[in-house]
């Protein structure tokens, strides 16, 4: 007996490709080209954090001790779990188990939303502790350490940019889930799930680098 909600699996050939295999490979390569530009963007931010740590060790360590280490660690667990559900969606899409795939995609979006909620709580706690040096009308808690402003500002730039990517990812995932729940989707567009999965795993990968660089190494 096959699983409930099983569909035919395939990719509809676009006119400008010779074969479906060529179309699949071109899509994967194109996604990787974009992901690598994103990697260079985040790498520049992370490298600047490390240079700051070398130039101003005391200020950066003091600022890093004020970051919410345990929320950062919990959020890493949340994203690892979301990567597992995304892998589940990809595997089920290959099997044509549409209903299970849609559930996995919704679970992935829910975990991404949980990450953003925790991040929002963390930002709120930082605001309450006067750890937002870019707000001109509020005193800054580490005013005695001017270099800490650079680190804290970079922390917001890196995590804010990551959160923006995650927010965009959740929005695209929800649209894709809606499309993927329609009959016949997997027969024509199965590889969209795989291509999107690359993006989601990449968001996870960036956070896996951000957590040690921002929260762990500088303590």
């Amino acid at each position: 007996m096959s699983a409930p909600g099983t569909s035919e699996v395939g990719v509809r050939l676009a006119g400008h490709f010779a074969t479906v295999e060529q179309q699949r490979r071109a899509a994967v390569l194109g996604m990787w080209a974009w992901l690598l530009t994103e990697l260079l963007l985040f790498a520049g931010l992370f490298l600047t954090v490390l240079v700051l740590r070398l130039l101003h060790p005391e200020a950066v360590q003091e600022a890093a001790r004020h970051l919410k280490f345990w929320i950062g660690a919990t959020n890493t667990v949340v994203l690892i779990a979301s990567s597992l559900t995304m892998s589940g969606a990809i595997q089920l899409s290959r099997l044509g188990w549409q209903r299970g795939m849609v559930r996995c995609m919704l679970a992935t979006a829910a975990l991404g939303t949980l990450f953003l909620a925790l991040k929002g709580y963390e930002y709120h706690a930082d605001y309450e502790e006067h750890l937002m040096p870019f707000l001109g009308d509020r005193p800054y808690a580490l005013d005695r350490l001017p270099a800490s402003r650079l680190f804290i500002n970079l922390y917001y730039a890196a995590t804010g940019l990551h959160a923006l990517h995650l927010f965009t990812g959740i929005a695209i995932l929800l649209v894709l889930t809606r499309q993927a729940s329609r009959p016949g989707f997997l027969a024509a567009h199965q590889n969209r799930i795989e291509i999107y999965g690359l993006y989601w795993h990449f968001i996870d990968l960036i956070w896996i680098m951000a957590f040690p660089v921002l929260y762990v190494l500088n303590r």
Binding site: L29, W32, L40, G44, L47, F211
Partner: protein, 101 residues
């Protein structure tokens, strides 16, 4: 489980085995870094933390993003991207780490 027959469950586990093991490995490695970050057991602990983070990145790349199953062109492409980042980090940090105090 979820209305699946025995064959389907076996097939599902066969497909999900690698992602589940990868997640378990990532959680284990994260646990190591969290423990090291919380306790700071020795002076050069940052080297271990970077090694653990690198291992986590490799697990995501090779297993979750399935680079190991991709054709050689994609593997080369992904590898070169991270290689460029490694050059960026190495050349910049060599400069700062070797400057006189």
């Amino acid at each position: 489980m979820f209305g699946l027959g025995q064959d389907d469950r076996r097939l599902l586990w066969q497909r999900m085995r690698a992602p589940v093991l990868a997640s378990a490995a990532l959680l284990g490695l994260l646990g190591v870094n969290v423990l090291l970050g919380a306790t700071r057991p020795f002076a050069g602990v940052w080297l271990v933390e970077i090694a653990v983070a690198t291992a986590m990145v490799l697990v995501v790349l090779l297993v979750s993003m399935e680079v190991r199953h991709e054709p050689p062109l994609v593997r080369l492409f992904a590898g070169i991207g991270f290689f460029w980042v490694a050059i960026l980090f190495a050349m910049t940090l060599v400069d700062y780490l070797t400057r006189a105090a």
